[in-house]
Symmetry: C2
Amino acid sequence: MKDFTEKTLSSEQIFEGRIINLQVDEVELPNGKKSKRELVKHPGAVAIIPITREGKIVLVRQYRKPLEKMVVEIPAGKLEKNEAPFQTAERELQEETGYRCQALQYVTSFYTSPGFADEIVHLYYTDQLERLEVPLDTDEDEFVEVIEVTLDEAFKLVREKQIYDAKTAYAIQYLQLKQLVKGS
Amino acid sequence: MKDFTEKTLSSEQIFEGRIINLQVDEVELPNGKKSKRELVKHPGAVAIIPITREGKIVLVRQYRKPLEKMVVEIPAGKLEKNEAPFQTAERELQEETGYRCQALQYVTSFYTSPGFADEIVHLYYTDQLERLEVPLDTDEDEFVEVIEVTLDEAFKLVREKQIYDAKTAYAIQYLQLKQLVKGS
């Protein structure tokens, strides 16, 4: 297996934000030439596939400014300091959907855009949901509509391109696969 | 269905790069309060699921500076001006793997990180590959190792966390699903 490690020659901090930082590194390529790499630093995130006792999937609709439109997604949120990913997942699920979960199963982790960002998403699954009697406060700049759909409706939303978020498309494919394996 | 559109009050261009731009928008939230949104602008990308006549999947290993490691991915590349996505897909496949394809099937499109970026990935599938007699030049700052694995090996790479790129994990799940549906 080859190793194309790019040696960092210098690193310039361009921006430090609330969610992301941006830096530009000058690197030495495997052929000795120099190039620049634009790197978005992100704290990482969790996402949850929540299935109700009725077998419905709980989704959230929210406005995503980068896309300038409402986006249907599985519940998700960014990692906070001093919080383990599964704790973030439990908290975000409660805040966004009003459901508490008793048992969270780890599914997988993936990097969303390895070409320019280091964001990782840790994905969890639960079919052990309980509705909170008193809903939690959401983040003050977060507005979320909760929808519950059957798996067939979710598959249809993907086919009809009303779901076009990568982690959500992955999650729904995961459920399709689970259903097929179970049914076979 | 609710509408939580965030009205743009002002927009500040922070950075214009070779691959991405960064801007910070001040927005008015649905409750009338103000907030800031950090927005990474990306031209979009294509990715291809290439299956050889022997039924192997063609993957590429390359160094991804944001993750500071070698990453195994399906062939992919960013959209270029005045080039249709399927043309970009055909070109990137040739440049990265040395294969030409005769029939490219569109699979789906998804946004990789809707929380902070507008990157979209258009995904294609082909099992009609022909090896190029004369390989094309790759981009001068791109170093890629091509590997061909069976589907079972690919599933194993995912399980063992040697594949952790979102689009590639999606692609391999897609192949698993295709195999199950075909076999049932």
